[in-house]
Subunit: 136 residues, 2 copies
Amino acid sequence: MSDLLERLRARGWRMTSQRRVVAEVLDGDHVHLTADEVHARAVARLPEISRATVYNALGELVSLGEVIEVSTDGRAKRYDPNAHRPHQHLVCSRCGTIRDVHPAGDPLTDLPAEQRFGFTVSAVEVTYRGLCPGCA
Amino acid sequence: MSDLLERLRARGWRMTSQRRVVAEVLDGDHVHLTADEVHARAVARLPEISRATVYNALGELVSLGEVIEVSTDGRAKRYDPNAHRPHQHLVCSRCGTIRDVHPAGDPLTDLPAEQRFGFTVSAVEVTYRGLCPGCA
DNA sequence: TTAGTTGCAAAGGCTTTGCACGCGC
DNA sequence: GCGCGTGCAAAGCCTTTGCAACTAA
């Protein structure tokens, strides 16, 4: 499970107790926490960790490509550690729950050349919206 | 061109000079302005219009379903008046330019039932990312 | 040792809110 | 005239920044 920590160590990411806790909090499936939620969980293990440090660590994990930043609503960004298997998000419009999904096919190829306006397209984000079983 | 204003009037939206200006500023194709940009353009025509009024009007247009709110980056939300033809966005990762695109096929059907986690899926947002001709 | 990391507190960008005044219907 | 819309200024949420003290390698 703790792939994230492994990978970070392997990549020579300078490790501190704060960074380790942030990485541990993020590890897992269907994890999509806001910076504040990460901070809250980190504080439970390391009471003196500051918000700024959490933001620093998250920003680095994103630049390293080990965590994906998602803005599913207009509110706080969420951080998704599932960066190594391409996937999309299924979001409940009511309670905000997010699930990772892996539809068949490559959405990248769905945009024909004549619709690309000369762009070089390199990535696609897909968000499915609806109501989860609990909210429906 | 001024479909938006027409529709709003037809729907009995209480009209004021401020609301008219906001609707006029938003009207057109490939329009994806931030609230602040809308305000700036509105001020050019109606110097005393306030930011709060612009936010109010935008919020209502979104609830009415006449304008779509898009958060392409983690920054300010953008407002897209092209709410009546389903479409997706092509975003330049460098300069932020947005183009509306209309790929073939219905992305809604791409998510098989066994991947829906019991959700009732009602909408899909697709964002293609890349570099525009100018930035490439 | 030494460059990189942390915590604090303050500032910053974007958005919402409360309330008195003003205007569309 | 009534009720909703407007403007102002203040507050709010989320995030970034500056800087001195600290610590992993």
